[in-house]
């Protein structure tokens, strides 16, 4: 009875959770456009093939890696089997009268499925840990166990299942209960013989050993055939559980006396219910989200323009944090060099999710996302590999729009959009070791004082040639600004931000001035200034609210 109540309670939680997730997510998807209030709008282009193939056959995962697909398939198929045949046996056994959990083939299949799920989950974890370690080695501390709750829950479910079965195999009290319920045998009727038979063939562990005779064995066998065999075949096909049973035989009596099997039963059942209750709120939600996301048509270069600012939160819930996107990320080397984890797609997704969770306004998260998203080249490899079928390229462009609408544009836009009065006012330099503190080329007079303003650099510059009527200063004018001591002003010029670093200027400078290196250095300083301006503006906005 209490199980029923719990089950229904959890089912209600599960359903309410699903509705809640869908509703809250649906309300968060927004279109972001520069200088416009974000508006809610839905674009839904259904693609049946994507939905069917990716849901049923996981084709995207298959493309990502055959082994990964195999392991994932192992977990999914094992879990499905266990769910239908084992967890819901009350329901399914009504349809299949020949089903008995205790007979050989089913014991074997149950163990096989359990092994599949357990092994798969362990492999999931190993991969996760490896990645987390790699990221921590190069970057700062990333949560080692972040996003692994569901995996641990499944592992404990499987583990407790095996243990429970093993304990039931050896448990004498359990044997006694069953005998009483199904046969009513007493010692005169051959209970001891049955016990002896079970101790020998069914791994039953007895409190007191029973002297054994072959005649008794035949009696036991006959009794077993009469009362037990219909439902209980020898436990050996349950290869894991009977192996475990063998292992815990020495302490079997002790465990049985304290009815640890009952505790495990509760634990096993509880873990299952917990998994169900948490499904809408945990990474397991991808079971629901992936099919939905897969049914979306991916953005092409044609419709990407139309959907540029669409931040579609629902697809984010399909993310399982598997990290394939980061493995193929074209700017992964940037992460290796700078250690900035926010460059990695799977981290960026997490940040967007965090922002979405906080109603999009989260200054810290915006700053983090900006620092990573600016390195993204929109090459699209992440979206191509994403096993959950999330349209990641659209997400990154949408994130850009979102941040702009929050008043946090990229540094170039910020720098060129800031008035020189604000740009050149002194900002406290960030106290990060190794940045901004050591004098660079632009601080060393010897680096640019030989400039004779011959304009060869400006003549050679492809940016000047391309941008004839918009470019503000040529490289030679930047050098002159430096000679006038206007470094900060130079760092805010269009030239500095649009420099391609083709090095034509530096290659041709008759005076051997490292023009391109200086421009790059100025841009690095401009990045710091732009961030400071943005952060100070964000902080002000925050205090206004």
């Amino acid at each position: 009875m209490i199980f029923r109540i719990l089950l229904y309670g959890v089912l209600v939680i599960f359903l309410i959770g699903l509705v809640y997730r869908f509703r809250s997510i649906a309300r968060k998807s927004r279109f972001f456009e520069r200088d416009k209030e974000p508006w809610a709008k839905k674009i839904f282009n259904f693609t049946a093939t994507g939905f069917l193939f990716n849901t049923l056959f996981q084709i995207k995962l298959f493309k990502a890696g055959k082994l990964r697909w195999l392991v994932h398939g192992l977990v999914i198929s094992g879990f499905s089997y266990l769910l239908v045949v084992h967890a819901l046996d009350d329901v399914t056994s009504m349809m299949f009268s020949w089903y008995q959990p205790g007979i050989g083939p089913f014991r074997f299949l149950r163990n096989l499925a359990g092994v599949g799920v357990g092994l798969g989950c362990i492999l999931f974890l190993v991969r996760r840990m490896n990645r987390a370690r790699n990221i921590r080695e190069t970057g700062d501390k990333g949560g080692l166990f972040k996003g692994t709750v569901s995996i641990f829950l499944i592992l404990s479910l499987v583990g407790s299942g095996f243990l429970l079965e093993a304990l039931r195999i050896i448990s004498e009290p359990r044997f006694d209960e069953m005998v009483e319920e199904y046969s009513g045998l007493d010692e005169a009727g051959g209970l001891n013989e049955l016990r002896a038979y079970w101790a020998r063939n069914y791994h039953l562990v007895l409190k007191e050993a029973i002297p054994f005779a072959s005649a008794d064995f035949e009696t036991g066998k006959a009794l077993n055939q009469e009362y037990c065999l219909d439902c209980h075949e020898r436990p050996d096909p349950a290869f894991v559980s009977s192996f475990l049973a063998g292992g815990i035989t020495p302490i079997g009596n002790w465990l049985a006396r304290f009815r640890v099997d009952l505790f495990l039963y509760w634990f096993h059942y509880g873990a299952g219910l917990l998994l169900l209750a948490f499904l809408p709120f945990s990474r397991m939600f991808h079971l629901v989200a992936v099919p939905v996301t897969s049914a979306w048509k991916k953005s092409t270069h044609v419709n990407l323009k139309k959907q540029m600012g669409l931040l579609e939160i629902f697809s984010l819930t399909a993310c399982t944090n598997c990290g394939f996107c980061s493995q193929v990320c074209a700017v992964y080397p940037n992460f290796q060099i700078t250690g900035n984890r926010e460059i990695l797609p799977h981290v960026k997704i997490d940040v967007v999710k965090t922002m979405a969770g906080k109603g999009l306004w989260d200054a810290r998260a915006v700053a983090r996302l900006r620092s990573g998203n600016d390195d993204c080249t929109r090459c699209g490899r992440c979206g191509d590999i994403c096993p959950s079928g999330i349209d990641l390229v659209r997400l990154w462009t949408a994130a850009d729009h979102l941040m702009e609408s929050l008043g946090f544009p990229d540094n170039c836009t910020q720098a060129l959009g800031t008035s020189f009065d604000i740009w050149t006012q002194p900002f406290p330099l960030p106290q990060v070791p190794g940045t901004g503190s050591s004098p660079g080329l632009a601080d060393r007079v010897a680096a640019f004082e030989h400039c004779v303003q011959c304009t060869i650099c400006t003549n050679a510059c492809p940016v000047v040639a391309h941008d004839l009527n918009q470019n503000d200063l040529g490289p030679h004018q930047i050098m002159n600004l430096l000679r006038l001591g206007r470094k900060q002003m130079a760092a805010g010029s269009r030239m500095v931000w649009h420099c391609l670093t083709c090095y034509a200027c530096q290659e041709l400078c008759p005076q051997g001035i490292r023009v391109a290196d200086i421009l790059l250095e100025l841009r690095a300083q401009g990045h710091r200034t732009a961030e400071q301006i943005k952060v100070s503006q964000l902080t002000n906005q925050g205090s206004d609210k």
């Binding site: 304009t455 060869i456 400006t458 003549n459 050679a460 000047v464 040639a465 290659e507 400078c509 008759p510």
Partner: protein
């Protein structure tokens, strides 16, 4: 990036300006294994015209018509001048050699038959020169005996600074029958445009057609048209011919202020020639720390982030003067930067310059530089060559006020050719 490379060659030419380029080309033509190290960017400063001897004596208020005559006077009066070590024939051969080298690289030059050519400049003045880009040739014919009957269209381009058609016209009005200044607008240019960028734009047929449309109206009114030297960076002659065909007017280019497009064409042509003739060009490599072990020189070449070791049988120093950093002016005296050679110079700094800044005689500092023997080998204080196989060529040479004598290219190319020839001769004599 710390990899230490070793290179070996017969001749190392230091400096990739006019003299260095010619020296490397000459060495390659003689089959000498050559490395050229330096920054060729300074070639963008040169006008593209190559002078022999435009003015002599310095005080003269007009140019020399026949440089051979000027040379005779110069050699007699100033035997220490670099031209003192060569004769007229050698100079002519030097010009011819450079013309052929550039011609092979696709840049056509027009060499005078013996008399100086009159070249119209962006200042509206006439400048004497000896060899000019083919694209300027027609302009030099303009000022012959029939000049007073000719009418000229001077074209400038809106946004191009340092070139004014009206200024050129004002300077030429009294020499020609008629001079018409006109400004052409190139679509898409609303502000200023650097000359090299404009030259690149001129390679676009659409820009050429826009230019032609605006010039066409004057086709019947003038005999010939001059325009700034922006007829494309590549294939300038082809572009000019296309413009001539479309406008029906003979065209010529007028050299302007640096940075100059003809200078860039020259640089490109020299580099093309080097690549074709197998010279190793270490672009933007600075040479330092020379060591001579009795047989060979070992020098260090360095860039911003790496160094390499170069061993060479001979070295040609073509590092130029102060802008090229071949000479460096310290507070009290002038030094040579690589070999620390003896520099001929006034005894004290107060004598470097006279009081009249624009004096026709020039200043003593303009004649400072490296003194050499007749083979262009630098001399020590005792007047003996410092090394058997060290040569100095080009503007670094002493007694050479090339700006006032209008002899820059001539001194460069003839000293470069002579030095390399003599290195080759001396080495093949010493060799097996």
């Amino acid at each position: 990036m710390t990899e230490y490379r070793k290179m070996d060659c017969d001749l190392l030419v230091i400096g990739a300006g006019m003299a260095g380029m010619v020296a490397a080309a000459r060495a390659a033509s003689l089959g000498i294994r050559t490395i050229l190290a330096g920054n060729s960017g300074s070639l963008i400063f040169v006008s593209g015209m190559m002078d022999y001897l435009g003015v002599y004596p310095m005080e003269a208020r007009k140019s020399v018509a026949d440089p051979a005559l000027g040379l005779a006077g110069l050699r007699a009066a100033e035997p220490d001048h670099p031209y003192g070590s060569v004769d007229h024939e050698q100079i002519l051969q030097g010009f011819d050699f450079v013309k052929k080298v550039l011609g092979k690289a696709g840049l056509a030059y027009h060499l005078s038959g013996g008399r100086n050519l009159s070249v119209l400049t962006a200042m509206g003045t006439l400048k004497p020169s000896f060899m000019v880009p083919k694209t300027m040739e027609k302009g030099t014919r303009l000022f012959g005996e029939t000049a007073e009957k000719k009418s000229l269209l001077v074209i400038d381009i809106k946004g191009l600074q340092g070139f004014s058609a009206r200024q050129v016209a004002a300077g030429m009005e009294h020499r020609l029958a008629r001079v018409i200044p006109v400004t052409v607008e190139i679509p898409g240019i609303s502000q200023t445009i650097p000359p090299i960028v404009l030259a690149q734009l001129f390679e676009d047929p659409k820009v050429q057609e826009a230019f032609v449309r605006q010039v066409l109206a004057f086709s019947d009114k003038v005999d010939i048209a001059g325009m700034p030297a922006v007829c494309g960076v590549h294939n300038s002659l082809g572009i000019q011919q296309r413009l001539e065909n479309l406008t029906g007017l003979p065209l010529f280019e007028i050299p302007g202020l640096p940075p100059s497009v003809p200078g860039l064409r020259l640089k490109n042509a020299f580099e093309t020639s080097l690549a074709a003739s197998g010279v190793t060009f270490l672009s933007n490599v600075t040479i330092k720390d020379p060591v001579f072990n009795g047989k060979k020189f070992t020098l260090t070449g360095s860039t911003d982030n790496r160094e390499l070791s170069i061993s060479a049988g001979g070295v040609v120093l073509a590092t130029g003067r102060f802008p090229g950093n071949g000479l460096h002016a310290r507070r009290e005296r002038i030094v040579e930067t690589i070999f620390h050679l003896n520099v001929h110079q006034p005894v004290t700094r107060s004598l470097w310059h006279g009081t009249d800044f624009l004096t026709r005689q020039g200043h003593l500092v303009n004649r400072a530089g490296i003194e050499t023997d007749k083979d262009f080998r630098p001399l020590n204080k005792r007047g003996a060559p410092v090394f058997d196989h060290l040569y100095a060529v080009g503007s670094i040479l002493a007694h050479n006020d090339w700006i006032r004598l209008k002899s820059g290219a001539g001194v460069c190319l003839v000293s470069a050719c002579a030095a390399v020839d003599r290195f080759h001769k001396r080495r093949s004599k010493a060799g097996p």
